[in-house]
């Protein structure tokens, strides 16, 4: 057992850290958020050129053969910068399904362009009434001669507006909450009957709602076996949880460190705020929550990467703890910054908003606690 980064991981980590420092000051980020498409295409290109987009793909697929640990290193640094580019949507989620179940021809058609950044993917699995259950799928595939037609709504599709194609879950058999009977397809964004309505989220990212109106798909569009898509979907969601947990860890590091720095700089009642024992102990607790999250992130990510028996439980545990810590660290960072903490002018609020969105993504704290103990 060892907790050291490999030499390559350390290099990637350092290079992203520099990238964030150079490009992700608060003002630059706000400017990117306010301009279509809500992130920087230049940065996206840079990420591709530096090989980051190929990190979690096998060498056969044109990637670098990294695993969840490599993605963790990257996402933690992205979290420190609140990076806007669609790495999670296109690489971890959309790409994550393709690398697991796509056919040879689908790989050829898509993975190269995903890795070079010229095309983007998105994952459409949640529905208006699915709650946090990925197996709760009501959008049904109605059998046709050469495939299916889909009708219904997929919601909270991250970076859907800029996606060139969607990985979509739909039901081909079974009841609405059965794990079996879920199939996956790769559907180009310009397919007839598919409407994408994009909208911003509170963290400055871009989400969307997809409406399927008699959208036809053929056998060529299917990803993996019919009725048997849940396994891959669930694995990809676990990867997504690990990724946003690492991102959240990076964001929490900024939050607790900013708070420590602010209290040392700011005077009240003739003392720096850092003199007040109540604030000192609060910051100690923020730091401890951060460290606890880091430990469990390492544990869960290593367990998943090693394919351990305890992997699913560790992922539930992690998402629970990250959410709980996010509230604790975020609320106390804002509170300790006082009036300034609730304005758009300081960065703490921006980090906290990203944490809120992460908390509600892939199932919240309570949901995963429940799953953990079931």
């Amino acid at each position: 057992m060892n907790f050291d980064l490999s030499e390559e991981q350390q290099l990637v980590s350092d290079s992203i850290e520099r990238f964030v420092l150079n490009n992700y000051g608060l003002e630059s980020r706000v400017a990117m958020v306010q301009q279509s498409p809500g992130f920087s295409l230049d940065h996206w290109k840079t990420m591709s050129e530096l090989g980051w987009l190929g990190l979690p793909f096998s060498e056969d697929d044109g990637g670098f053969g990294g695993d969840q640990l490599d993605t963790m290193v990257l996402m933690e640094q992205f979290g420190k910068g609140l990076v806007l580019e669609p790495f999670l949507a296109s690489i971890v989620l959309g790409g994550g399904v393709l690398k697991r179940v796509a056919s040879e021809s689908q790989r050829k058609a898509w993975l190269e362009v995903v890795i070079d950044g010229s095309k983007q993917l998105a994952l459409a699995y949640a529905e208006p009434e699915s709650g946090y259950e990925p197996h709760n799928v009501a959008v049904a595939g109605n059998k046709t001669n050469d495939g299916y037609t889909l009708t219904g709504t997929k919601c909270m599709v991250l970076h859907g507006k800029t996606a060139d194609a969607f990985v979509v879950s739909f039901r081909t058999s079974g009841g609405v909450v059965d794990q079996s009977g879920i199939s996956l397809a790769l559907i180009p964004a310009d397919r007839d009957g598919l409407t994408v309505q994009g909208f911003p989220t509170v963290d400055g990212l871009q989400s969307s709602e997809l409406t399927f109106n008699q959208v036809s798909i053929t056998a060529d569009d299917l990803l993996g076996e019919i009725d048997n898509g849940f396994g891959a979907l669930n694995e990809v969601i676990n990867d997504g949880i690990l990724a946003v947990a690492a991102e959240a860890l990076g964001a929490m590091e900024i939050l607790y460190k900013d708070t420590v720095a602010y209290t040392q700089a700011r005077e009240q009642f003739d003392h720096p705020l850092s003199d007040f024992q109540v604030l000192q102990h609060r910051m100690v607790e923020m730091f401890m929550e951060y460290e606890q999250c880091k430990s469990l992130l390492f544990r869960a990510t290593m367990e998943v990467a090693a394919g351990g028996d305890d992997a699913q439980r560790c992922v539930h545990a992690l998402k629970h703890l990250i959410g709980k810590a996010a509230f604790f660290v975020g609320e106390n960072a804002v509170q300790t910054h006082g009036g300034m903490g609730v304005t758009e002018e300081l960065r703490v609020g921006h980090y906290f908003k990203r944490l809120l969105v992460i908390e509600a993504q892939f199932g919240n704290t309570d949901y995963h606690l429940d799953q953990f103990s079931t």
Binding site: G131, C155, Q197, F199, Q268, L279, G341, E344, L356
Partner: protein
């Protein structure tokens, strides 16, 4: 000890309900006209437009029970928007410390909702340590007016206010609570710049306000020079009780339950999910308790007395409850709470739920942060004096 309302109270309650029902907003009405009419009719009831003002100044002179009934009923009813700055904050200061001339000049317009006031207290760099304010007021050589220079921050509604009541420093001698002077002046004049502060909920209600060489006639000084802090202190306690917002929370909690009941989970709703249900129940119980803490506080406060340190307790508990309601509302909205305009995905209540939650974080900061409230209770209620220098 008795929970039941007296017959007098019951008929007062009926009268309030009748008034509120009879004067509720009707679709199509001009909202502004309705507002002014509403206050006029409340006035005709015998000072119901200024419930907390003493009878001497035209208030209704209610008993604590009557105040409670009014608060409970209005929280559940359609009543016109109102702002506390003139009515609940400056008003009592003028009644206690203003000259008769000042009372005659300002109180009628406050009562008539003709003039909007804002409060110039906080400053950049002062935070919860209000008394360390630096905005300077220098008396002119001829003694006719002050010249004010400085910056105020977190000034709620400064962008629509007509006048400001403002704490200024007229002396640096002595401890910082001394040398503070309470001035009144118009907001719409040269030399005043109002810069919006956008808060994380995305809304604009607070501002930074810059004063450059503002002339304020001495006649606009409330009370004595250098005594402003003593007038302002009591006012903060008024503010706190208002911020606790307990009656509003009772209504908001019912709203939360309705919303959560509309969110499908399994064969039931979110209100059937045990973890969520337990959080709502614990919240409701805390609210049931603090509702009676407020009643106990109302009951012991003799008429006319400013709320004491127990207002800190109400503020601490009340704002915690408000924040928890916002948090659970956001939770009920699930992923859809992240939406920030431009969509109609998910339940109506859910969208921008995270904005509402972020906006609620300020409750434990303004009006004296929770940490400061606890320092106050330490000293004033527990009687602990710090021996540290």
């Amino acid at each position: 000890m008795d929970i039941e309302l007296s017959n007098d109270d019951l008929s007062f309650e009926a009268e309030v309900r009748e008034f509120l029902a009879g004067n509720a907003y009707k679709d199509g009405e001009d909202p502004n006209k309705w507002r002014m009419d509403w206050f006029e009719k409340a006035r005709e009831k015998g000072g119901w437009d200024v419930p907390k003002w003493p009878a001497k100044f035209g208030g209704p002179g209610w008993t604590p029970n009557q105040h409670y009934i009014w608060q409970k009923e209005t929280a559940r009813s359609s009543t016109p928007w109102d702002m506390p700055f003139g009515l609940s904050m400056l008003g009592p200061v003028l009644m206690a410390h203003g000259s008769e001339e000042q009372q005659d000049r300002f109180l009628p317009d406050i009562r008539a909702r003709k003039v909007n006031w804002c409060q110039g207290y906080s400053e950049p760099g002062a935070g919860s340590d209000l008394a360390s304010l630096k905005t300077k007021a220098v008396l002119s050589e001829d003694g006719s007016h002050y010249v004010v220079n400085g910056t105020k921050i977190w000034t709620t509604m400064a962008h629509i206010a007509d006048w400001i009541f403002c704490l200024t420093r007229t002396s640096d001698a002595g401890i910082k609570q001394e040398g503070i002077t309470f001035l009144l002046f118009p907001m719409k004049q040269e030399g005043i710049e109002v810069k919006p502060i956008i808060t994380l909920g995305g809304s604009h209600s607070v501002n930074t306000v810059f004063f450059t060489d503002i002339k304020v006639p001495v006649a606009n000084r409330v009370g004595a020079e250098g005594k402003g802090w003593t007038y302002a202190k009591g006012l903060l306690e008024h503010e706190r009780t208002g911020i606790a917002g307990i009656s509003n929370s009772i209504v908001a909690l019912e709203g939360l339950k309705d919303k959560a009941s509309s969110v499908k989970r399994g064969n039931g709703s979110l209100m059937d999910v045990s973890s969520f249900k337990a959080k709502v129940a614990a919240l409701e119980i805390d609210l049931m308790a603090v509702e009676y803490t407020e009643l106990r506080s109302l009951a012991t406060a003799s008429a006319g007395t400013a709320p004491g340190p127990e207002s800190s307790i109400l503020k601490l508990k009340g704002t915690d409850i408000q924040q928890r309601i916002q948090k659970l509302t956001m939770e009920a909205g699930g992923q859809f709470s992240a939406a920030w305009g431009g969509t109609n995905a998910g339940p109506d209540f859910a969208r921008a739920g995270m904005g509402g939650y972020m906006g609620s974080r300020v409750y434990t900061i303004y009006g004296g942060a929770s940490e400061v409230q606890k320092d106050i209770v330490t000293k004033k209620v527990l009687g602990i004096k710090s021996s540290k220098k």
